[in-house]
């Protein structure tokens, strides 16, 4: 393995992994701060950030072609239809 390859194959994923662990510690710690506000939002934001790290780097969506990105996006967009319209009912009953 050349230096270049080692960075590409091992080091880059390791950095992302370290980032994931930092976020895990953060979300766990914040949940245990008594009286901290907006816990739901913070924990979900961190979860989404972790997901975004995995999608962008581990799954290499960052480098994927437009077509693949479109497929990935479709799932999120359509799931948001499901939530949006269902809660349009629940919240206005």
């Amino acid at each position: 393995m050349t230096h270049e390859e080692r960075r590409e194959i091992v080091l880059a994923p390791l950095i992302v992994w370290a980032g994931l662990f930092v976020l895990l510690g953060l979300t766990w710690g914040y949940a245990y701060i008594p009286g901290a506000s907006a816990k739901v939002i913070v924990s979900l934001t961190i979860a989404l950030a972790k997901g975004a790290l995995i999608v962008a780097f581990f799954m290499q969506l960052r480098r994927a072609d437009g077509l693949t990105r479109l497929a990935a996006l479709a799932g999120i967009v359509w799931a948001s239809f499901l939530f949006l319209f269902t809660f349009a009912d629940f919240l206005t009953r």
């Binding site: 393995m1 390859e5 590409e8 194959i9 091992v10 994923p13 390791l14 992302v16 992994w17 994931l20 662990f21 895990l24 979300t27 766990w28 949940a31 245990y32 008594p34 816990k39 924990s43 979900l44 961190i46 979860a47 989404l48 972790k50 997901g51 995995i54 999608v55 780097f57 581990f58 799954m59 994927a64 072609d65 077509l67 693949t68 497929a71 990935a72 479709a74 799932g75 999120i76 359509w78 799931a79 499901l82 939530f83 269902t86 809660f87 629940f90």
Partner: protein, 209 residues
């Protein structure tokens, strides 16, 4: 699935053949997103509607098991990512060890989950007769807990099957020919990880401390 270096039916162009598997797998992952979207909608409703009683139920979830399992699964994602990159680069030994590592981490996730389930059963946390909280939003939390984690565990098991198959191909010595298979398997495994990363705060961090 697709041999990378050889053109095979129905493809006429290598460039298109190379993106076929990732594109197909990503489309499938979009369906997984909507699949889990359905159960998360149930969670959102139950939590919004159930209020304090829902939180009371959620406090019983074993946060240590959950946190350790999150760490285990995230690490398995790392080994999978290295394995996939190593396969592409042609580093067979690294790929083999990393695939093996992913397999072991995935298995230990299931084992830890099993211990957690044993503890949950012990504490009467299965909705139904003898359930700790009786009927109500707490029971809804635990209905979500069991359905979501069992569904996720089934995904993990399928993922382990895929990894085992990749290892077997590697043993045969033609994993490089199946680089897109490795890519597809890795994408699936990362999705299983993402699902757990999203489930983690919903299951274990409600109403702490």
């Amino acid at each position: 699935m697709a041999e990378d270096l050889v053109l095979h039916e129905p493809f006429e162009e290598a460039a298109r053949q190379r993106i076929a598997v990732p594109f197909g797998v990503w489309s499938f992952l979009a369906t997984e997103c909507l699949f889990f979207g359905g159960i998360l909608l149930f969670y959102a409703y139950a939590r919004w509607h159930g209020g304090e009683a829902f939180t009371q139920g959620a406090k019983e979830a074993a946060v240590w098991y959950g946190t350790i399992n999150t760490a285990v699964l995230m690490t398995s994602s790392l080994t999978m990512a290295i394995a996939e990159r190593a396969t592409k680069g042609g580093f067979r030994v690294v790929a083999r060890w990393m695939l093996g590592g992913t397999l072991m981490l995935g298995l230990s996730f299931l084992v830890i989950k099993g211990f957690e389930y044993r503890k949950d059963v012990h504490e009467h946390l299965i909705p139904g007769p003898g359930f700790k909280f009786g009927q109500g939003p707490a029971a809804q939390f635990w209905a979500f807990y069991w359905t979501a984690t069992v569904t996720h565990a089934i995904h993990v098991t399928i993922g382990l099957g895929i990894i085992a198959r990749l290892l077997w191909i590697e043993r045969r010595g033609d994993l490089l020919l199946h680089a897109t298979s490795a890519q597809g398997g890795a994408l699936y495994w990362h999705l299983v990880d993402i699902v757990w990363v999203v489930l983690y705060p919903l299951l274990y961090l409600v109403g702490r401390p």
